[in-house]
């Protein structure tokens, strides 16, 4: 087990390097001159040239990459072209905000998804199964920005129960107060619908598959009752579900451009949206790099959790 974990951690290094390489290449893959965002297209040539030197664009690409890598390793993601603020600061705040939404959505979506899926899988073919399947199909099919708008219209505009947008009455800033929590309710619900559907579907399939295996009958043949058999089923379902949950949490962390825009929630999705429209390359690079690394890290955690739960995984 220890050797397995060590090996998985070592695998991270090339993957993370790959991510930085991709993010670095972004500047050169994106159409147009990156300097256009800083100065207008009609700026004098010598100004453009001095900026080019200032940003290091006159150096050979490998050297540029190494400099970039060095900066990243020392925690320097550059400055936002639009605001001049360090990318790390903006990103940190946005990640914190998205974390509130994604943890909330994970709690709501994962619990409801696991419950729905487990019920459906346990009673496969019955009425419960069909109802649960209906809910999950709706969950994954409804466009969530549309759902967000409908929720805003019903809950905020018509019923006036919850605030329509923003993190707080005064704009940004989070605290665990009733007002703040109220602001989070609608975006969290909207965001939890898709993971709920996906988690429910995989839990249903996995539970149904495990229940069909002969060892479940063998457990009954040992004299185990419903509860202990259920415990065995959970232990067998867990490795698969953990990987689904990990992946879904990764998507949630990326934030949702659409949801954060609908609800004016200043998270990573919102930030990405801004960076793209303003051609703020350093901000874009920093955000994508951070999200990419989060994903890699999450995958590592999932792999370790899976190996801990399923002895058959430890060999490979």
């Amino acid at each position: 087990m220890f050797a397995y974990i060590l090996r998985r951690i070592l695998y991270i290094v090339p993957i993370a390097l790959g991510v930085t390489l991709l993010v670095f290449a972004l500047v050169h893959i994106a159409p147009g001159d990156p300097l256009n965002a800083v100065v207008g297209p009609d700026a004098p040539a010598e100004v453009v040239e001095s900026l080019r030197r200032a940003y290091g664009f006159d150096r050979p690409l490998p050297v540029q990459y190494l400099i970039y890598l060095g900066n990243v390793l020392t925690g320097d993601l550059g400055q936002s072209v639009a605001t001049g603020r360090p990318v790390v600061a903006d990103l940190g705040r946005a990640l914190g905000n998205t974390l509130i939404l994604s943890v909330g959505a994970a709690i709501v979506g994962f619990t409801s998804g696991i419950l729905l899926g487990a019920l459906a899988g346990w009673h496969r073919g019955g009425l419960t199964d069909r109802l649960a399947t209906l809910v999950t199909v709706i969950g994954v099919s409804v466009p969530h920005y549309w759902l967000g708008m409908v929720l805003v219209i019903v809950m905020a505009v018509e019923l006036n129960l919850l605030p329509a947008m923003g993190m707080a009455p005064g704009g940004e800033g989070w605290g665990f107060t009733t007002t703040h929590l109220k602001h989070a309710v609608l975006p969290v619900i909207t965001m939890s619908v898709i993971p709920m559907g996906i988690v429910a579907r995989s839990v249903r399939a996995t539970v149904a598959e495990v229940l069909q295996q002969e060892f479940v009958q063998a457990l009954r043949a040992k004299g185990l009752g419903r509860g202990p058999v259920l415990r065995h089923v959970v232990r067998n379902v867990a490795p698969t579900i953990v990987s689904v949950l990990g992946l879904q949490f990764g998507y949630l962390l990326g934030g949702s451009i659409l949801i954060e825009t609908v609800f004016s929630w200043p998270g990573t999705g919102f930030l990405l949206n801004e960076a793209i429209f303003k051609r703020d390359i350093p901000l874009l690079q920093g955000t994508i790099l951070m999200l990419g690394l989060f994903f890699v890290l999450l995958n590592l955690l999932v792999d370790i959790a899976q190996a801990a739960l399923d002895p058959r995984m430890r060999r490979s």
């Binding site: 002969e214 060892f215 063998a218 043949a221 040992k222 232990r235 002895p311 058959r312």
Partner: protein, 347 residues
């Protein structure tokens, strides 16, 4: 269930000792399938004494495994219908509440499955799985249960048992896994062990070891065993009595010697003629023409009649009765008496 039947069974200790351990009568099982109702078991009657080994012999789909599962009341309740009675130590298995039934499963009656790789939980160690059963039925401490599990692994002759206790099923060989499965089934000293083709998934050399082990443990623990197999060699090697199954019925029943040397049902005779026995070099094997019947549309008469070489049409419509040739010796065929010595089985 009637409340007076529990004390009655419990206090009548003296007659119970003489009574058979297991008494099955009129057992029928049918399943709901998309193609209609499939009649898997169509009236099975037999008794089993303590310490006796009965072999159920038959091809796939003849109802052998379903019979075993029906004896343990393990069939899926929603999709199956069971009728008849299964008396284990005088208690009707089908009239017990589920909670009491759970107490019997794995204790008084336990099962060895065909494919131990599938029948063992892949994410628990062998030791945990055995200990779990012991704790469940005997309420011992976890440490005591683990000590017993180690003893059991040694009893089924698993080398370096202490290490295997902490092994997962996928870390063991097929034969080792089946030994572990047997240890699990024996963990609470059952009086009846059901073995569902326990050697089919194993290499030929390992098959023999497992059969010998089962035979030895059966004698040592004075267990009754019902062994399901489609392998006549296995039946000849192990059984006290043999029951031949076809389309959910016992078509022939008797001592192993009687049934395998002097078959009185054309199906048994066909089965023997289609199997390699003794020195048959250079002689072609016979085959039974046709295929087993569709269980959702069984013929009204003898289920074997369409394939029967002796069939004259009369058994196609009327089901032949059980013909008792002597006590304990039955063949369900109108020709049961005439069949005497009809087949020359190479010996």
């Amino acid at each position: 269930m009637p409340p007076e039947s529990i004390p009655a069974a419990a206090t009548d200790a003296a007659p119970a000792a003489a009574a058979p351990l297991l008494s099955v009568s009129g057992l029928t099982v049918s399943f709901d399938t998309p193609r209609g109702r499939a009649s898997a078991i169509n009236g099975v009657d037999f008794t089993l004494k303590r310490g006796e080994l009965l072999c159920l012999l038959g091809e796939s789909g003849s109802g052998k495994s379903v019979t075993l599962r029906a004896l343990m009341r393990l069939l899926p309740e929603r999709r199956s219908r069971v009728a008849g009675s299964v008396l284990l130590n005088g208690e009707d298995v089908y009239r017990l509440p589920e909670r009491r039934m759970e107490r019997l499963r794995g204790k008084a009656i336990s099962m060895v499955f065909q494919e131990p790789m599938l029948a063992l939980d892949p994410v628990y160690t062998i030791g945990q799985q055995i200990a779990e059963t012991i704790v469940r039925h005997e309420g011992t401490s976890a440490a005591e249960a683990e000590r017993r599990a180690l003893e059991l692994l040694e009893k089924v002759q698993i080398p370096s048992a202490k290490r295997r206790l902490h092994a997962y099923p996928h870390e063991m060989s097929g034969g080792m896994r089946q030994r572990a499965m047997i240890a699990l089934a024996l963990s609470c000293n059952p009086s009846l062990l059901l073995a569902d083709e326990p050697t089919t998934a194993l290499d030929a050399t390992v098959q023999m070891q497992i059969l010998l082990l089962l035979r030895q443990l059966q004698a040592e623990l004075d267990m009754a065993v019902i062994l399901v197999t489609h392998d006549i060699g296995v039946a000849a090697e192990t059984a006290d009595r043999v029951a031949v199954m076809y389309a959910g019925r016992f078509v022939e029943l008797g001592s192993a010697r009687q049934v395998l040397k002097d078959p009185r049902h054309p199906y048994t005779a066909g089965l023997l003629a289609s199997t390699v026995q003794g020195d048959m070099r250079g002689r072609p094997l016979d085959t039974i023409p046709g295929a087993p019947p569709d269980l959702t549309a069984l013929p009204p008469g003898c289920a074997y009649a369409p394939r029967c070489p002796y069939g004259d049409g009369s058994t196609l419509t009327a089901s032949p009765p059980e013909v008792w040739l002597e006590p304990g010796r039955m063949a369900r065929c109108v020709r049961a008496k005439a069949m005497a010595g009809a087949t020359a089985v190479a010996d």
